[in-house]
Symmetry: C2
Subunit: 148 residues, 2 copies
């Protein structure tokens, strides 16, 4: 296999993020110094990664305190890594357009789940690689701007 | 599908961790408040999770500073989650028994990779679930002791 070009990696990355019922690993840092990690259903809406969690969850609390997270989409040998900042926290009943977009891609609809919020996350850095030969050239976005 | 029993989940978890060429997601918290997340090759050796990284990597530095991490093995809908503490950091040339065990399960051998270390991580809490119906009963280990 030849390492993919940046343009191909970007294409593959965006196709993966738009897949129905795709999941994302979300890693956050807590104020007590611990790390948290959970799999969540992802929607890719208007250039933002959107997940839905309980406002009381550790992921929501960490993001409220820290403002950022690191995420992974894809299996370990076809990964896309995203460092993102929290742009908005939206109660599930407050934005029907966002909720419709989330439900259209995800395989569940959190509207009606008490205390749930959408976390709208803006990517700042994106990396994508399959195997070791793709480590060079893995950065596709830096400071919020696509490089390819 | 009926939710698996705790005994079945423990069996499935240990079988997954012992698979050849299995990977682990390792989430760590940095002293600057950020979260880090990377996929690494896993070996399950003497009841410890073992990964190999450069001593200069962010994962190694975060673990040296914080002493703990959260890990995931398996796809997002058949996950095992592990909160672990760093027990030992071993330069790759210093412990041939450990290095042989790592190379026997992993699909690479870091001996010869300059500056690489094994991180030997002791699980304290283990959880395993597939879908929402398995959220109850997901905790298989607490305070380092298997519950089933």
């Amino acid at each position: 296999m030849t390492p993919r070009t940046s343009a191909t990696r970007k294409h593959d990355t965006l196709a993966m993020w738009a897949m129905p019922a795709i999941d994302v690993w979300v890693a956050t840092a807590s104020v007590d110094g611990g790390a948290h990690l959970v799999p969540l259903s992802l929607a890719w809406v208007d250039e933002r990664m959107v997940v839905a969690v309980s406002a009381a969850s550790r992921t929501a609390r960490d993001l409220a305190a820290r403002g950022r997270c690191r995420m992974a989409v894809g299996p370990t040998r076809d990964v896309t890594m995203v460092d993102a900042v929290l742009e908005r926290t939206v109660p599930v009943g407050d934005d029907d357009a966002l909720a419709d977009s989330y439900a259209a891609q995800s395989d569940w609809d959190p509207r009606g789940s008490d205390g749930y919020v959408y976390l709208v996350l803006r990517p700042e850095r994106v990396q994508a690689w399959r195997e070791v030969d793709e480590i060079p050239g893995r950065t596709l976005m830096r400071d919020g701007a696509w490089l390819a």
